[in-house]
């Protein structure tokens, strides 16, 4: 009976093969035939060397590296995971590639995002953004902790405040939506979406504040800069182009909620994880629409009358500049501008995918870092795998079995890369050593 029960699903897999063919393998990408060192826990392209920089207790979040090379790692507790909170400062004082000093601070803050701006460390928590100032070359900031902006809604889903700061001191804060698709009834099959979605008043968008100011609140200061963003965990300022870019987590459960329009296979592959160039006043489509990279167009969400082929009115929503397969969960983005990697990496985007849970009954996917070159303002059509092997098994059915889940990427002043993993608290150092 077990076999018989799976037959319709298998048929769906066979007859609805995905057309995602943008991933390319080259001499410069990860060699898919090479072995993953199970102790190290990842695989990098030829010419690169990865080492374990630190194993930290806690649920690791974003990384930032100070001008002196000190590596800062945010820690949080969320959804029953994690132990220590705050920020851990790590230094490799003897140059062996392994952190030999560790100092924690702000341990009362559930920290996710870290950005250095004008020598201060900005920390994104769940309902506020903080600023820490250093006296001289101290590793742990001894100055007062300033609240840059607070008063974001308390929410249990998509609660982490990631952000970017541009050269003018504009602070762009991702305020995630607290739901899957703003349904009238929580994840209930066939439920229509709320029209208009009230969550968009305070959430599901990018808010702008003054990074140099203090004690701003979401309600009284700043502005809703863009809307329709479900949760832009990966948001980054690109100084060379003076442009903020972001990737958002697409919605879940098309098949479970609307089996009349979607197969389990459709639902595993859709919707796209979208990459955008942030524009003032932009509407990025959530919850009314989603993007379908298999059809190459934006579609109306089934909660709002969509059926898997109905397109919204033209011009209402922004088009992504790049897309990735569904549920990969983009959690960080780095535009490489260092000197130690080969020239082809300069100006390109390294994107960290935490990995899926909502691709069952197909194997889970993501759990990798990809590299995408940029041609002027837009990313190239193809992308390649820069690091994978994190999940520790070839075929992952349950995300709980992943050895590591990549979370963040940062570069030090010399251009060496650091990568963190949430579930294991591991931080790797990745350098280019050549042939």
């Amino acid at each position: 009976m077990r076999t018989v029960c799976w037959m319709p699903l298998l048929a769906g897999v066979l007859f609805a093969a995905p057309i995602v063919a943008e991933e390319v393998t080259s001499a410069q990408s990860v060699d898919p035939s090479s072995a993953v060192d199970p102790v190290l826990g990842l695989r990098v392209p030829p010419g690169f060397r990865a080492t374990v920089f630190a194993d930290v207790d806690g649920y690791a979040r974003h990384l930032a590296v100070r001008d002196d090379g000190t590596v800062y790692l945010a820690l949080t507790v969320r959804m029953g995971r994690g132990s220590d909170m705050g920020v851990v400062a790590m230094r490799d004082t003897d140059g062996d590639g392994v952190a030999d000093t560790r100092e924690a601070f702000a341990t009362d803050i559930p920290a996710t995002a870290l950005v250095f701006f004008e020598d201060d460390l900005y920390v994104g928590a769940n309902t506020a953004i903080y600023r820490f100032s250093f006296n001289g070359d101290e590793v742990v900031p001894s100055g007062e902790r300033d609240v840059v902006v607070s008063g974001f809604p308390e929410q249990r889903l998509h609660e982490a405040k990631t952000f970017a700061i541009d050269r003018d001191g504009n602070l762009y804060v991702n305020v995630g939506a607290p739901s899957n698709a703003c349904m009238e009834e929580f994840r209930t099959r066939g439920s229509p979406g709320q029209q208009p979605c009230p969550q968009l008043q305070r959430q599901g968008g990018i808010w702008r504040y003054d990074a140099r100011a203090s004690n701003q609140t979401q309600a009284d200061d700043g502005e809703r800069y863009a809307t329709g963003v479900r949760n832009a965990m990966a948001i980054e300022y690109n100084a060379a182009r003076d442009q903020v870019y972001f990737l958002s987590h697409g919605r879940d459960a098309l098949f479970t909620l609307f089996p009349e329009y979607y197969s389990a296979e459709d639902s595993a592959e859709l919707p796209s994880e979208e990459m955008h160039a942030l524009a003032r006043g932009g509407n990025y489509g959530w919850p009314y629409t989603y993007y379908d990279h298999l059809q190459g167009k934006r579609l109306v969400a089934p909660e709002y009358g969509g059926d898997g082929s109905l397109a919204p009115p033209a011009g209402e929503y922004a088009e992504p500049i790049a897309t990735f397969p569904g549920h990969w969960a983009p959690n960080d983005l780095l535009f490489y501008d260092g000197q130690s990697l080969p020239e082809r990496y300069r100006g390109g985007a390294l994107i960290v995918f935490h990995g899926s849970w909502n691709r069952a009954p197909l194997p889970q996917d993501g759990y990798k870092i990809v590299f995408r070159t940029f041609d002027g303002e837009r990313p190239a059509a193809d992308w390649e795998v820069f690091a994978d092997g994190f999940k520790g098994v070839d075929v992952l059915a349950n995300p709980g079995d992943a050895a590591h889940r990549p979370m963040s990427i940062a570069q030090d002043p010399e251009g060496v890369l650091y990568v963190s993993s949430t579930v294991s608290g591991r931080v790797w150092r990745i350098e280019y050593v050549g042939d």
């Binding site: 077990r2 959804m79 995971r81 994840r187 209930t188 069952a360 059915a397």
Partner: protein
């Protein structure tokens, strides 16, 4: 003696048929599980850590069947929403689903009748 033998035969037949019927129901339950539950609770019933609770080892799953039926029909009884409601399943479908879940994830191999699901449903607001 003959009466007792007849009774035994009938009991045996009832048991065999009941067992066969229950096997069919468990099979249907698996199909429903695959369609409606697996995306969140996973094929192995362990859920997604920190996100979607496990069915393996769950006191709701190993507890009384009518409590479990009420949970699934209401999405956790409320007022806090824990899960979507699955009240669109028929009494027979829900009975088959719960039998599958209990057999597969907590090792309880007991028949659940559609009537018992209907009784739970009738008590819900």
């Amino acid at each position: 003696m003959s009466g007792i033998r007849t009774l035994s035969t009938i009991t045996l037949l009832w048991l065999v048929c009941g067992l066969a019927a229950s096997q069919t129901d468990v099979a249907d339950g698996e199909a429903i599980y695959t369609r409606d539950c697996l995306a969140c609770h996973m094929a192995d019933g362990r859920g997604v850590p920190g996100m979607n609770p496990p069915l393996t080892g769950s006191p709701w799953v190993s507890g009384p069947a009518d409590s479990l039926a009420g949970f699934v029909l209401t999405g956790g009884f409320g007022p806090e929403i824990l899960m979507a409601r699955f009240d669109y399943l028929s009494d027979a479908e829900l009975a088959a689903l719960l039998m599958y879940i209990r057999a597969e994830f907590v090792g309880i191999d007991e028949p659940i009748s559609a009537d018992s699901i209907a009784a739970v449903r009738s008590q819900l607001p």
